[in-house]
């Protein structure tokens, strides 16, 4: 069996007159952490939204775990989604539910015949893993930004996904919390043997979490490799300035 988990070929996506992705090619290997870098509005999030079927590509091929996403029936798509965890930029916790209910929501709807005890055990185990067991009965409005991100990750892990997609995991967080979230991404990968894509424009996050970097510019990947291969001596002026700005800022 191939160790390729995601295979993207010639992917195009536009919104009205705006071409966002213009022929993207990418391979993602099992248990690899790939970081997709790029400035805001370059289509990084669009790429992973196509991966889970939230958006549909205009042209090209998007194979995830050996299945072409755009040709799946709703039932097949849901089966694939169970194998993919998606951590949203703003955590997307359900406002009207407690942390426990947030985590129960996907679990009870996808895995039948679980006893109450088993559900509670699973929830507590994951809250322990993200270091927030005390928040189980709290509402999302009572949590800090970093806590929300952690709970969001715990909620996606409850279905034991093979692939984790992180959309801007450190956006809007203070530097210490950023490091904690980066550590969490690495822990998740080690503990649950997941393959990950991290979407970010934060180079510190990229350096800490990524095995491989892919820089998205003008709708295509312009550089790919390890951190030291892509940065800091990039020949492309835009990639170099991206690096410079990030580190001058930090």
């Amino acid at each position: 069996m191939s160790d390729k988990v995601v295979e993207i070929r010639g992917l195009y996506k536009s919104f009205g007159d705006l071409d966002v992705l213009k022929g993207v090619d990418l391979d993602l290997h099992r248990e690899e952490n790939l970081v997709v870098l790029g400035r805001s509005g370059t289509g990084k999030s669009v790429l992973i939204k196509i991966m889970v079927g939230l958006l549909k590509q205009d042209k090209g091929q998007m194979e995830v775990l050996g299945q072409e996403v755009s040709s799946l029936t709703p039932k097949e798509l849901n089966a694939l989604r169970l194998k993919i965890g998606f951590s949203f930029q703003n955590s997307a916790l359900y406002d009207s539910m407690t942390v426990r209910e947030n985590m129960e929501f996907p679990l009870v709807r996808n895995i039948k015949n679980l006893t109450k005890k088993e559900i509670t055990y699973k929830i507590e185990e994951l809250l322990d893993a993200v270091g927030l067991p005390q928040t189980i009965n709290q509402m999302p409005s009572e949590l800090s930004g970093g806590q929300k991100k952690r709970i969001g990750v715990a909620r996606t892990l409850i279905l034991n996904p093979e692939i984790m997609l992180y959309d801007e995991p450190t956006a809007g967080l203070d530097p210490i919390t950023c490091v904690e979230i980066n550590n969490l991404i690495n822990e998740v990968r080690e503990r649950y043997k997941t393959t990950s894509i991290v979407i970010t424009h934060d180079l510190a996050c990229a350096k800490m979490t990524g095995d491989r970097m892919a820089v998205l510019l003008d709708g295509q990947f312009r550089a790919m490799g390890t951190f030291s291969e892509v940065f800091p001596h990039a020949e492309d002026r835009r990639i170099k300035s991206f690096y410079d700005y990030n580190f001058i800022e930090s």
Partner: protein, 265 residues
């Protein structure tokens, strides 16, 4: 002048396009509801939760409004009837007006304002904060959980609220009649039940089902299709109320024609 006309043309055609696209979207949304409502899994627990929110939490407002409507309508009708020495007809007049028209209409309009706007705003904010996407990527059906449950809850709860409003309005009316004409409770209610027919009650219930469905589906549709951040959420809540109220009046008019036709048979 010619240039002005040219400028207007694309604007108009854009508006017309938008109108018909919106109409087609709304039609597809209603069709999807009818498709999903019969298919498992069923979210019974959430339906009960929504029924509680829509029904029980609306009670104070509905009670107050119903009671005041009963008193005010009785007070306003008395002078006209007393000119003909027919104040004894007050209970009959009030019961017909309340059961046939005012109860369903007042309840539906209040529910459109309170429930419709809250559904629009709640689902709208879930949409713009990606909570609906989060449900979708966790392989659960957000339409079933958010839309089907809320539409069922409004459809079931509005008729119950209407019957409650009718009752409270009649109690308000009785207090007024009792203090002015010294009519006893039993006489008042005997007169009421002599005046209203089975058709009145059935048409009121059927109309309320229709109003409930309208409030739920419009609120959900507007919320589900909201965009442009918090501004979009406000707009979704607002248009949910305006469109629901508009449709409620149209439906009232249509149902009235049908019931009158049946009554004339």
């Amino acid at each position: 002048m010619a240039e002005e006309a040219d400028d207007r043309k694309p604007f108009l055609s854009k508006k017309i396009d938008k109108f018909f696209t919106g109409l087609a979207d709304a039609w597809n949304f209603v069709r999807r509801f009818w498709k999903e409502v019969f298919l498992p899994p069923y979210e019974f627990k959430e339906v009960i939760h929504q029924c509680y929110r829509i029904g029980v939490e609306s009670l104070p407002l509905i009670s107050l409004t119903g009671f005041i409507v009963g008193i005010v309508f009785t007070n306003q009708s008395r002078p006209s009837l007393s000119e003909f020495g027919a104040t004894s007809w007050l209970p009959s007049l009030i019961s017909i007006a309340v059961v046939r028209a005012m109860g369903p209409l007042v309840t539906a309009l209040i529910a459109a304002g309170k429930v419709g706007s809250s559904i629009g705003a709640e689902i709208g904010s879930m949409k713009v904060t990606e909570q609906i996407d989060a449900m979708e990527v966790s392989a659960t059906n957000p339409f079933k959980f958010l839309v089907v449950t809320r539409v069922l809850a409004t459809t079931f709860m509005i008729p119950i609220l209407v019957m409650y409003t009718d009752f409270v309005a009649l109690i308000g009316s009785f207090l007024n009649v009792n203090s002015n004409e010294l009519v006893s409770l039993s006489t008042f209610f005997v007169q009421i039940f002599e005046s209203i027919s089975f058709l009145d009650i059935w048409s009121s219930v059927l109309k309320s089902l229709l109003f409930g469905f309208t409030i739920g589906i419009v609120g959900c549709y507007k919320g589900y299709h909201s965009s442009k951040g918090t501004e979009g959420v406000g707009r979704a809540a607002n248009s949910a109320v305006v469109i629901s109220m508009f449709l409620i009046f149209i439906e009232e008019l249509l149902v009235l024609q049908v019931v009158n036709a049946i009554r004339g048979m």
